[in-house]
Symmetry: C2
Subunit: 411 residues, 2 copies
């Protein structure tokens, strides 16, 4: 009878050079000595993807999407073959497979494809032949390796899906900003999704969604040390916790304000439809109710899209009759996330109070069932993280038994 | 009715950076404007293959052959996608295909695979859809892009197979060594094969063989200038030419001498069998007939294999009872090639005389039907090339009508 089936994903920083690849190979060899069946998903080495993008950019400003996908996929093929060679050198049978060879099909939308299905026959056959199976992680989706790993874990009914990265797990706040930030042993899917959406860079949101839908137990952990990570799973205690679980901040944001927008039907559509068509994601939206038949409309976009957003909106400015368009790139989002937030209005008041006490002005506010986000000046992010971490006592372990036996055993 | 079908192959130096890739794209766009159907075979950019080999070498001394093939293939995938992007940018519809997508199957011997077959349905469909088809050239064979191009030309019944490289064609000698060296408008397959075997680096020998067997008219030409190249085809006048057509030299060679080998049956097998098993190609072999029951046995190997050859032979030294093993890396081969050589013994005498007059000692000699090769000191290669070029009057055009209309029209 075979051992547990484990899917592991290693990110680009874990595979940045030959030494690190050999280190990952030694870790895999140890794991396999414990009789586990292993499917490994790899990202491209270090900066490979950026280098390939630069090369494509030197050829043409608008690379064909299909060709760009094939180009970027070569980065993952390279790290997959190199890891396989390193395992062979340790006497561990291994084989590298492209996404297609591994039976992964996508919906064919180049540049933003989603995994459409996984036919795991080939992977199963290679595992049965005693091999470690290494799958190139990129599936026509920038940074889609986490999603590949979770999709394979779901389809193969893996016992675990481990995401190896350069941090030890999910923390109550960015530990570089808040020294008392505490690693969470366990976090629920929904809370993780909000944290990821709001700027915690550790995992791709699509991967968390897919894990949630399929009930895949995910563990985020460091490839550079031997320490338990954070398990992302159904949190049986989530309803009772009723507590802020963590903070997230996001500096990759810019604010656009349309001043004196005429207050008539259809205006919002005229603004947001062309942005959506250009693939620009609009996040927070605030409309100040009218002063003399006109309003101010503010919203946020990813900072890298600000230039494009301006180029799209400025020609519409006159047609729609608004006065001017102002922008601000020196801003950031700060969020508190926790399953209990919706049912306890006190959290919003405590958040706004803590920010006010720290002298931090709130420019915009948005909320979800389990999250409150404030837009603040970028140079106040550090102060905001410290103020909120203290206000919600995040340095204190959860007395409801974080990392409870039942879930801890899955990691 | 479609225009002519042309297969073009571009080597790594023609695709070394973004500028060169765009230059190649412009050339293809011009060709296509002339209504030709185009299948393009590409090598990896510049030094990519060497860089990938170095990366694999940093992981392990003996990379798994299958994984190494997959790794190296990523180099050709990259240049194929980049060239396709460059064509798209010029408004030329194009698609890059891997070897497998292009329907090319190999015999699966990783590291030295041969093309087993070509099923051109996909290529045909893409051509019919009006696209330039770009095929990644590496097929599990180091430097196999020439062979890929010729195999595709054969299977697609292409009108031409053009090999674009960094030289203008086939010359009577290396023009860097002999300023009066003349470009040949036409050369027969068999003569080209001997030139390639004997060190003319312009084309891969396997590609010439495949062209010969399938009657593919090949043209070697420069991607850096607009000038006619050299056509490799059946030479209808070859029997009448009866003349040395060109010189080749090869510095990638080392000599091994086994001193005082016992003169008894089976000794040669004991020496050459283990070398063959190690994949070391032994070229020239000379055995000096005995002096007192023992002989000296000399042969040449590629210079890079000399260390391995020594390691293999030294343990056998005592068992076989030969006295010592000496080696010499400072040697080179110089060859004259021409279809008439076999029937005209005067050529050998003229070659040896010209070398003697130039003060060049001949260490070993080997011959084929259309070639005579001498082993000489490496530092005398330049002098030998000049002496032989003059002795055989290679600077003078062939009065039998080189580049005769019938063949010239094929280029």
């Amino acid at each position: 009878m075979p051992g547990p089936l484990v899917v592991q994903k290693y990110g680009g920083s874990s595979l940045a050079d030959a030494d690190r690849i050999r280190r990952v190979a030694r870790r895999i060899a140890r794991e396999r000595a414990g009789a586990a069946e292993l499917v490994i998903v790899v990202s491209a080495m270090g900066d490979t993807t950026d280098e390939l993008l630069a090369l494509a950019g030197a050829i043409t400003d608008e690379p064909d999407a299909r060709e760009l996908d094939v180009l970027l996929a070569t980065g993952e093929h390279q790290s997959a073959t190199l890891l396989s060679m390193a395992l062979h050198a340790l006497g561990v049978p291994a084989i590298s497979l492209t996404g297609a060879q591994a039976g992964i099909t996508t919906d064919g939308r180049y540049g933003k494809a989603r995994i459409a299905g996984v036919e795991p026959r080939r992977i199963r056959a290679e595992l049965d032949a005693g091999k470690v199976v290494i799958v190139a992680g990129f599936q026509g989706l920038r940074g889609g390796s986490d999603t590949t790993a979770v999709a394979l874990a779901a389809r193969l009914h893996a016992d675990r899906c481990q995401i190896f990265t350069d941090v030890r797990g999910i923390f109550t706040a960015d530990p570089r900003l808040e020294p008392t930030a505490r690693q969470l042993p366990l976090i629920g899917y929904e809370e993780m999704l909000e944290l990821a959406h709001q700027g915690a860079q550790v995992m791709q949101t699509r991967a968390v969604e897919l894990g949630w839908v399929n009930g895949v137990v995910i563990e985020v952990l460091s490839s550079f040390e031997d320490a338990p990570g954070t398990v992302i799973a159904e949190d049986p205690l989530v309803e009772q916790r009723n507590k802020v679980r963590g903070l997230a901040h996001d500096r990759n944001v810019a604010k656009v304000t349309l001043v004196d927008v005429p207050d008539r039907p259809g205006v919002a559509r005229s603004v947001f439809e062309p942005l959506a068509e250009a693939g620009i994601i609009v996040d927070m939206i605030v409309q100040n109710v009218g002063h003399g038949g006109a309003t101010d409309l503010s919203f946020t976009v990813p900072r890298a899209d600000l230039g494009r957003a301006k180029r799209i909106l400025e020609p519409i400015l006159r047609t729609l009759g608004f006065r001017e368009l102002t922008t601000d790139s020196a801003i950031a989002k700060i969020s508190i996330v926790g399953a209990g937030i919706q049912n306890a209005p006190g959290y919003a008041a405590r958040m706004f109070g803590a920010l006010a006490d720290a002298g931090i002005n709130i420019e915009m506010i948005s909320t979800s069932e389990i999250r409150i986000t404030c837009l603040i000046a970028e140079d106040q992010v550090d102060a905001a993280v410290r103020a909120l971490h203290a206000a919600f006592e995040l340095e204190r372990p959860d007395e409801m038994g974080e990392g409870a036996g039942a879930v801890g055993a899955a990691s």
